[in-house]
Every structure is written in C-alpha cells, then in structure tokens.
Symmetry: C2
Subunit: 357 residues, 2 copies
Amino acid sequence: MDLRTSYQETTKRLDGHGSRTVGVLQEALQGVAADQMSDIYGNGELIKTFERKMVDLLRHDDAVFFPSGTMAQQIALRIWSDEQNNRKVAYHPLCHLEIHEQDGLKKLHGIEPILVGEADRMMTIDDVKALPDVSCLLLELPQRELGGLLPSREELEVICAYARKQNIRLHLDGARLLEVLPYYEAEAKDIAQLFDSVYISFYKGLGGVAGAILAGPEPFCQEARIWKRRYGGDLISLYPYILSADFYYEQRKDRMAEYHAAAKALASRLNAIPGISTRPLEPVSNMFHLYFKAEKAVVEEKLIEIQSHGKVGIAGYLVEKESGCATEVNIGDSFLTLTPDERETVYRQLTEAFSED
Amino acid sequence: MDLRTSYQETTKRLDGHGSRTVGVLQEALQGVAADQMSDIYGNGELIKTFERKMVDLLRHDDAVFFPSGTMAQQIALRIWSDEQNNRKVAYHPLCHLEIHEQDGLKKLHGIEPILVGEADRMMTIDDVKALPDVSCLLLELPQRELGGLLPSREELEVICAYARKQNIRLHLDGARLLEVLPYYEAEAKDIAQLFDSVYISFYKGLGGVAGAILAGPEPFCQEARIWKRRYGGDLISLYPYILSADFYYEQRKDRMAEYHAAAKALASRLNAIPGISTRPLEPVSNMFHLYFKAEKAVVEEKLIEIQSHGKVGIAGYLVEKESGCATEVNIGDSFLTLTPDERETVYRQLTEAFSED
C-alpha cells in the first residue's frame, strides 16, 4: 500500500475538514430552494449578493467571483501592468504564479516576473527596495510554500507604504487571508485595505468546493469582468461554487482563532518528538509544514504503519527536503473533532516510530 | 413590465428545458453517493470516467473536461497555431470567438482570425479555397447566429477534405453537435471524425449546468490540459459540472430526434402566421430564429400581453433586425410538455396579435 492510499483509507485526520466528497456540495445545497434562479454570466441576484458580501468584508469598492484564484490573480497582475504600462511584476520565488500555473502569466500575457528575495525565506523591505521598476508587487499572506509564514504587521505596513510611495500597485494573494486574522488580531478589511487588489479563496481554510473573489477599485473590477469573459471563466452558472463558498464561509469564518490555537497546540506537541519539527515552530495561522529528519521512503513506511493501525491520517504525501522530508498540515474541523485519546495515541505512535532513529 | 420579466414569470415555455434554477443541479446530485470522491485538479475516477465516455462517443484519442467552451476553443486554436507555427486561424464572421469572447483569442494569444465568407450566410467551399495560409479552420455546426444552419453532409465533407489536403487543421465547434445528428442521420463519431479536434457543450440541448469537452489526438489533449492549468480552468473540483453534464447527457442524448421533429412542427405552424417567419424555414436541429416583421417595441408590447395572459413564454428578449426583430428558440423538454391545447392557444394568440398589421 502506498502512502496516499493508506491516508485515503483513514476515517479521521490531523488535516483539513474531511474528505473532498460530493457530500460537501450536497450539504451546502440542502437548504437552498430548488427554484432559486442561477446566476447568468456574472449577473443575477445570487452572484451579486455574494459579491456585495465580500465587498463588505474586504471594504474594497467592488468584488468579482471567479472560478479560480489562478485566473483571478493573473488577471489582477495584467490589469495593473496595463495601467502602469509596465510588463514587470514582482513576487516571491515560491509564488503560486511562478510554480503552480505552468507559466500562464508569461505565456498568456508576456508579463515578466521579478523574483523578490530568496526562495527559502520571506521577502524583506530591503529586497523590495532593491527592485527594478515594476508595475505591481504581489504579497502572499501567509507564505504557503514556507509553511505559512507571515511578516510582522509592522514589516507588512512598511513594505506596503514603500510600494505606494514608489507608485507600485500592491496585490494581496490572500488565499488564506481569514486564516491569518487571529495572529494579526485584525479584521479582514484592515489587511485588505493595505492593498490595491485582494484575492481570497473559498476552499482552503473555509473548506468550500472551489472559487475565489477578486476585490479592488471599481474600474479594476470592470476590467476584471472583461478578462474573466476572455478567459472563459464567465460561466453561464457559477452557483455551485458561489453557494458552497457562502455556506462554508458562514460556517467557518468565525472559527479561525480556534483553528489557529489548535495548530499551535498540535505543533508544540509534535516539536517535542525527536526527529520531528514544524515550520514555523509556532504557527501563525491554521497551517504549518511538518518535517521528518529521515529519508522519505523510511518515513513513508512508518506513516503507513501508523495510519493503518490508528486510523488517524497524518500525511497523504511527502516532499523530499534537504534534511529529510515534509508534508503540509492545515488545521480545520478534522483535528478539532479528534478526541483527546485519539490525539494522544497519534503523539505516542509518532514518538515510538521516530524517536528510535 | 419589460419583456424579460414577463418571460421569467411564465411557467411554461416554447424554449428550453425549464428555468435555470438550483434545482437542476440538486436533481443531478440526488442519486450520487455523498462519499463519492471529488475529482482533484483533473485527476480521479470521477472526471476520468466521464472523459472516457466522451472518447467513446466522439472516437477521438482523448478528451478533456473544461469549465467552458470559450476556454476549450481558444486553447484548441492556440495548440494548432503552435503546431503549424502560424498565428492565422480561419472562422465564420459570427463565430463565438469573434463576437462573444471580448477578443480573448487575440488578447491572450495574439492569434489573427481570418473571417471566412459573409456574416449573413454559411461559408462555402469557394470561401475556404480563397483563404490565405492558415493553421486551422473552425466550423460551427449548426451555425447558431444564423438560426442554426448546416451545410449538407456532402458540402461539409468537401470542405473538410480540402482543408486536410492543404494541411489546415480542422476544429469543430460542436457546442450543439448532438442536436444536428438526426438531420445528418449520423452518429456523433461520424461527424467528429471529420475533424482534428472537437468541442461539445453540456448546457445547450443537453440542459446541464455548464461545462464542455474538448477531444482530439493524445498530444493535443496533453497540451490542452497544460493550457487548462494556465487559464485557471484546472479547478480542484469540477464535479458539479461533470456530474450534471453526465446526468443530463444520459437523460437527453437520445431525445434529439424528438426535439428536431418538434422544432420542425412548431416552425411550420409559426411560418403560417402572416408577419412571422423562422430561419431556417425548416429547422435542421432543435433550434431556429423566430422573426417578426414589425418594430421591436411593437412586438415587445404584444408578446408581453400574450405572455401575461397565456402563461406560455415565447421570448425573453428581441434583437433588432433589418426587417423587424428576432429571437432564438431551442426546442427541448418545455415545448414537449405543452398540451395540444396550450400550443393551439399560442398559435391563435400570435395569429391574432400579428396578422392584424
């Protein structure tokens, strides 16, 4: 049995909100009247009401619902590039657009990304000051590929203030924006308003089916709707994503502090096990990366053993790292529904499996 | 009251399969097990099974599920352009890519479309022979903006044979491919195999929620999956569209001859009313355009009157034409569920309203 299969067969998990099943959508649609009219090509009460709700949350002028963040963010950078008449944009070397989108930004727009800072650390104000002339700077909060790191609120504000002074547009990759609010002790609008445009996702911490919001000034959102049509993202019906986004947003928006606290508690216990550590050591959101100081094949075998006995899923995949291997953990409803006994069993099993090395 | 509102308030219709409500999706999901796993970024049994079903239908090597035809078709033309190292593609002046996509093809790919023939008629083999060097020729069957016209099977085969001889790639905009099979007395594969790549839609005659299939050779589909990622169309979960596409495909794929026969019968009755005519006079699919020889404002007023009395919707919008105005009718379950009495009432009302002029 491979690690993925062994994970899929577990009925409880450290990570997430449960399996991505059709039941997730069925549950979200249960309370919706069958005669509720669909959105139609971006229009209609269903989509407009949700977009307005996100306007209220983020306090930007307007907001556009997109099928995906990939589409939304490429479009944001294109609009700012056009506005500034400058095809250079700046982002971190591990930005989603750089490593997960098959170079869509370059191939579809001829936009040239300038990578800010180094791949293994957060960007700093000094990195930003060293930039050539760019139209837009994209910041990702939290920095997912680094385990979910955040700049301090002060560093963030310094970077944003500097960019504004340089007339560099600021775009927030806020896929997990709600997830960092407890750490910043802020409301969404406080962070969103530091930026000219903001993207948030509905299937990370919120646990929806798919979908994204792109918010910004009115002319920006008008342009974004035209680009959404150009991309083939202006579907006749986006309601399966909108209704589930709204349902799980309402269900989980106020639980982020709980997830964050649980992530800190779990990380603290895991860091006490020799051979295991988390990045960051103390999570600043609901997520962290879980590192094993052993070869991938060895860790896989041990995790499969634990998962098939305890029935609590720890990892479905491992990525090789210099010091061993790692996986990602996002705390949600799954961890919160584990009993104290189940949690203790996992800690004990991990300790037995990895301390012996 | 405006025409759209008056139409929306009708409970029966000449056109379509009923209102685009959330109930359409709820019904499709009713029989799906809650623990059915989602597709994940284009992988998983749910999406692969449906793609294979479409491979069997179209007898192409591979098929890729897309959120929209807009996305699928731009990508098809881009792939053929790259393969032929030629940025010129050819299509009809009223092609979807030319008039409904905000110039996505040009803006995202720098592709230069050559318009074939004239806007008010189908393209001919002579138009195709007059083309400059192009990488790809897109044919739309039926030609929606002309009321759903079709070339004869012979003309179609002559055009395709000529293009192949010239090494021009052939792409089929088959959004309504199933809808034309009764007229051609053909199976989907017979028409699909005349082309190098084929797109079909699931929310026209089939009445699904949204979604499209793009089929073609294996390397073409591999490229298409990469472009789908670039576009932000490779969603973590496309199952709301896949499951509903499959559900309504199974429900309606064998009813196209019925829809076609009903469209012919309805058109014949409508053409008997002075001041009203259809294009084509005898439909070759389930669709036609309905023309009124009177000013738009006058027709609107009369239709609102008829719709608010008879409760059978005739038109939700009108487009101005040289000779008056027109709307589109797509025959589906709605017309088939009208009683003979309800149909006769509509004919009588239309005759009374429009013959007096």
